[in-house]
Amino acid sequence: MFTKQLQDEDEEILKIAKKINSTSGSLSQRFLFFITSLLIRFGFRYPKLKLQTFKFIDVLPSLETKNIYSYFKIYIFDEDTEIPSFLKSSIHFLIHHFYLSSLVSYVLLRVIQFFAKLFILCESKETLNRKTNQTRPRTYDILGEIALSPQEAKEYQKQYIDLIEELPVVIHNIDPIKRTNISIKCSGIETRLFPEAEEVSIQFLKEALRPILRLAMTKGIGINLDMEQYDLKSIITRTAKELFLEEEFKLYPHFGIVVQSYLKSSNEELVLWRKYAKLRGVPITIRLVKGAYLEYERIKSEERGWQSPVFDSKKETDIQFEKNVLYLLESFPYLRSAFGTHNLRSISFALYHTNQKSITDFEIQMLFGMAGKYKFSLESLGYPIREYSPIGSLLPGMAYLIRRLLENTSNQGFLYQLSQGKKLDSLVKNPNKETQYGI
C-alpha cells in the first residue's frame, strides 16, 4: 500500500521530530516538562482521583478561602478515590485535630493558583507590559465567565478594545508572523447568537466585531476569530466571510479564523475558505487546530441523538489534520497557515511539507505554558512560534486551567505517551499507517 516515497517521507518526518525533541531547553523549561510529566503519570495512574481533583478545581472559584479544605475533604477524602481509607482518615484527623484547616485551605489555594499561573499569561492588561517585552509573538485571549447579558458582552468587548489600545502600534512592514494578534471569542462579545436565527445573529455579531476590527487595523494588529462549539460554527464562519468583505476591511491581510480538524467537515471548510480568499484577493490566516470541545460535542450529540460532528477516534482526527495541512499548503498564498498543535508528529509533518514546498510564510501556534521545550527548540531551529496567551483572573480562569490539565493528562496525549517511556519513533508514526497495521 505504502509507496517507497511515502516511507521516505515518514523517515524524514521522524528526523525532524527527533531534532525538535533532542534540544533540551533551559533549566526552567526542563523543570516544567518534568512537573507536567509527573502530573500526567500521576493523573493516569489514579483516574478516580483525577476526576475528583478536577471537580474540586472546578468548584474552587466559588468558594471562600476558609471553606476550601472542607470541600477538599468532601471531594477527595469522602468520595471513592484510589487513596487508601486509612490515609484519608489519618490526614483528616491530623488536620482536624490541630486546627489546620484554614492553613491547609490557604496552601491548597496557592497550589492551584501556581498551576493556573503556568497557563495564564497575566491577570490583566496592566500587568501585561513586562511580559510582552519577550521576543515571542503572541495571540492574546481574554478569559472569564460566560457572557450572559448584553452588559457582560459589552464589558468583554471593552476589554478587547482596551487591550488593543494598550498594545504598541505594529510597524507597518513587519512580517505577519511577528505581528501581535488578538484571538476573539465571539460568544463572549455577543450573547445573542442563536443557531435557529442565524441571519439576525450574524448582524448582531458583526456590530460587536466592527469596532474591534477597526481599532486593530489602525494599529496593525492581527485579529483571529476563535472557533467554539459546533452550534456556532456556521454563524461565526458566515460573519467572518461577510465582514471581511466589507469596504473598510476588505484589504486588510491580517484577519484569521480557525478550522478544527476533529470536525468531519473540516476539509469542505478549507475548500470554501480557499475559494473565498481567492475571491477576496487578500489572504486569510487559517489556524488549523484539532479542536478543544471534543467532550462537549460528544455529550451534546448523544443527548440530542444526533450524529456526532466530530471524529470518534484521535487517529481519524490526526489523519484529517494531515490532509488539512496538505490542502492548506496547496492553497498558499490565498490561505496562510497557522498550525496550532503540540503533537510532535503533526508539527514535524507540517514542517516537512512547508520545506518541500519552500513556504516560509506560516507559523506554529502553541498555548502559553504548554510544550515549552518544543517551543524553545523550534525557535532555535528558526521556526516561527506564536503563543496563544490567555489574560485574566486566575480563579475565573479555572475552566481554562481544567482544559489544559485535561489535555496534559489525557491518556491519548502526546506528552503522556512520552512520559510513559514510549519511544519517539512509535509516537511520531504516520497515523495512516497505524490503521494499516491495526496498532
Partner: protein, 520 residues
C-alpha cells in the same frame, strides 16, 4: 421493540430553517381554521363558534371552534359502545403497530402541525420542535410499553392454570391543556387508545386546530373514528358533561388545580344509572422552586434559570417561579440575572431570534398585568423592551415579603420571585413548604447537599445543575405529587397501567386425578 427518542431538527442548518419557514409564513392564508365536532364517522359544525385570536396580532382570528353539547356526547357514547369490542379484541401487536403509524403520519405533517401550534400559542420554534418530538415519543413509547409490559402473565401449576391479564377500562374522557397542545394532547389520547380504550377528547379551546390536525393523523392511519372522538368546546359545558356522564370510566385531565379538584369531586358522585367507580387522573399545576447553593457555578445557574422561568413565557406547569439563593452568591447572581433578563429579546415567534413571545390570550394578559401592577413595589428587575401590540408580558423578577400570595399561587406567566437563604437546608425547607410537588432544581457542587436534596425534596422531578423544564419521554417520566396531581408519570413505565384493570383466570385442569401435565 426498542424505544429511541425522536430527533429534534438542527435549526443551525439553513435547509431546516427554510423548510419550516415556508409553511409558517404562508399558513395564515388558511385562517380562520374551522374546527368541527367529530362523532364517529360523522363531522359537523356547531351553529355558534368560538373564536381564538392570535396572541401577537390579536386582530387576527386563527381558529373558530365548534361547541359540542351534552347530546353530542350521548351520541358518541352510543357509537362507542357498539364498536368497543372489536377495538378491545384487536391484538395488542396490531394496536401498537397503528400507534407507530400515527407517529410516522405526524412526522409527515410536521411543518404544518408546528406552524398551526405556533400561530395558536405563540410558542418559540425550538420549543415547538421539542414538544413535537415529545408527541412522537409518546406514540412510540406507549406502543412499546403496551407490548412489552402489559402482556399476560401465566402461573401454571400441575392442576391449575392461572393467567393474569389486563383489560381496558372502557370510555376515557381526555380533557387536554393548551400549553402543550401537541405533546400532552397526543400522549393523553395515545396512552388509553393503545391498550384498547375508547377515547373521547375535548381539546383546549385555545388550541383546537392543533389538536384537530393531530387527531386527523390518528384516524388516517386506521385508528377507528368510532373509538376516537373529537368533541371541542368549552370546559364548563362539554368538559363537565364528560366528567359527569355515568358511562365514562376514566377522566384523564391536565389543567388547572381548581378544575382538577372539582373534577375529582364530581367524579366521586355515583349517579343512579352509573355502574362503575370513576377513576380520575389529574396532572395539575406547580409552584416550582430552585435552590442556588453557595458554591454554585453562576454561569450554570443563570443558564438554567432563564429558560426554566421564561421559556414559553412561563406557561408551563414545570416552570420555575420561586428562586432561593444562598446569601454568599445572592447579590452577584441577582445582578447578573437582572442584566441577563434585560437582554432577553421579546417579540413575535415568527422571528426565531426572539426568546420570549406573547402569552396565550387577553384574559391571561390582563390577569398577569394585574399581578404585575399589584406587586410593582417588589419588582427588582425586568425586561424593558417589549412590543406594545400583542399579549406581551415583560419577564420580571421580584423580591417579595414572605407572606405574599405570589409565593403560593401558580401564576402561569414569566414572573419570578427570589429570596435569600442562609443555608441549603433552609432552601429545602422553603421548597417543601408548598401545596405543589412537581419540579425542582438544585444548583450546587456540594455532593453532600445534592444528596440531601435527593432525599428530602418532595417533588416528582428533581433536576440538578440544569434547567427544570423539558422532561423527555423515558428519560424523565413527568408528573408530581401533593396538589400537583394524582401521581401519573407521563412517559414513564407505569402510565399505561392507569387505563387498564388487572383480571385473573384461574382454571382447574384436574379431571378425576389426572391432568394435562401428569398424563404425558
Amino acid at each position: 421493540m426498542e424505544f429511541k427518542n425522536e430527533l429534534i431538527r438542527d435549526f443551525s442548518l439553513e435547509k431546516e430553517r427554510s423548510s419550516i419557514r415556508k409553511t409558517l409564513d404562508s399558513i395564515h392564508r388558511l385562517f380562520p381554521f374551522q374546527i368541527p365536532i367529530s362523532i364517529g364517522t360523522k363531522e359537523k359544525f356547531s351553529e355558534k363558534m368560538l373564536a381564538h385570536k392570535n396572541p401577537w396580532s390579536p386582530e387576527l382570528v386563527v381558529t373558530n371552534v365548534s361547541l359540542s353539547k351534552a347530546n353530542d356526547l350521548e351520541e358518541t357514547i352510543q357509537i362507542s359502545k357498539k364498536h368497543w369490542h372489536s377495538w378491545k379484541e384487536h391484538p395488542q401487536e396490531e394496536r401498537s403497530r397503528l400507534l407507530l403509524k400515527v407517529a410516522e403520519k405526524l412526522i409527515s405533517n410536521k411543518d404544518l402541525i408546528l406552524s398551526v401550534c405556533i400561530w395558536e400559542t405563540g410558542k418559540h420554534i425550538t420549543e415547538a420542535e421539542i414538544e413535537f418530538a415529545e408527541a412522537i415519543d409518546f406514540c412510540r413509547y406507549y406502543a412499546m410499553l403496551a407490548l412489552n409490559k402489559l402482556s399476560p402473565q401465566k402461573t401454571i401449576l400441575l392442576g391449575e392454570d392461572n393467567i393474569y391479564y389486563y383489560q381496558p377500562k372502557g370510555i376515557v374522557g381526555c380533557i387536554t391543556p393548551w400549553n402543550f397542545p401537541m405533546a400532552i394532547f397526543t400522549g393523553m389520547c395515545a396512552g388509553p387508545l393503545v391498550v384498547g380504550n375508547i377515547v373521547i377528547t375535548k381539546p383546549a379551546e385555545e388550541t383546537s386546530a392543533t389538536a384537530y390536525e393531530i387527531a386527523k393523523c390518528f384516524w388516517e392511519v386506521g385508528i377507528p373514528k368510532e373509538v376516537f372522538h373529537f368533541l371541542p368546546g368549552i370546559g364548563s359545558e362539554i368538559g363537565d358533561a364528560i366528567v359527569n356522564h355515568p358511562e365514562v370510566s376514566v377522566i384523564n385531565f391536565t389543567g388547572s388545580r381548581d378544575v382538577g379538584l372539582s373534577i375529582l369531586r364530581s367524579a366521586s358522585i355515583v349517579s343512579p344509572k352509573q355502574t362503575i367507580i370513576k377513576k380520575v387522573i389529574c396532572e395539575l399545576g406547580g409552584k416550582n422552586a430552585m435552590i442556588v447553593d453557595a458554591d454554585a457555578d453562576l454561569d450554570v445557574a443563570i443558564q438554567s434559570i432563564l429558560p426554566s422561568a421564561f421559556g414559553f413565557q412561563g406557561q408551563k406547569c414545570s416552570a420555575l417561579s420561586r428562586l432561593y439563593v444562598h446569601q454568599n452568591c445572592y447579590q452577584r447572581l441577582k445582578e447578573r440575572l437582572i442584566e441577563a433578563m434585560d437582554g432577553l429579546l421579546v417579540g413575535s415567534p415568527l422571528d426565531f431570534g426572539n426568546r420570549v413571545g406573547p402569552v396565550i390570550h387577553e384574559e391571561s394578559f390582563l390577569r398577569l398585568t394585574r399581578i404585575q401592577k399589584e406587586n410593582e413595589s417588589f419588582i427588582v428587575g425586568k425586561t424593558r423592551s417589549i412590543p406594545t401590540e400583542g399579549f406581551y408580558i415583560s419577564p420580571s423578577l421580584y423580591e417579595l415579603p414572605k407572606d405574599s400570595s405570589m409565593w403560593r399561587t401558580e401564576i402561569f406567566g414569566p414572573l419570578l420571585s427570589m429570596q435569600k437563604i442562609s443555608s441549603f437546608s433552609e432552601g429545602i425547607h422553603l421548597v417543601n413548604d408548598s401545596d405543589y410537588a412537581l419540579t425542582c432544581g438544585v444548583i450546587s457542587r456540594n455532593p453532600k447537599n445534592v444528596m440531601e436534596a435527593k432525599l428530602k425534596i418532595d417533588v416528582g422531578n428533581l433536576y440538578i445543575n440544569r434547567g427544570i423544564t423539558g422532561a423527555i419521554v423515558n428519560r424523565q417520566p413527568f408528573g408530581g405529587g401533593k396538589l400537583s396531581g394524582t401521581g401519573a408519570k407521563a412517559g414513564g413505565p407505569d402510565y399505561l397501567s392507569l387505563f387498564v384493570e388487572g383480571r385473573t383466570f384461574t382454571e382447574n385442569t384436574m379431571r378425576h386425578g389426572f391432568s394435562r401435565d401428569t398424563i404425558q
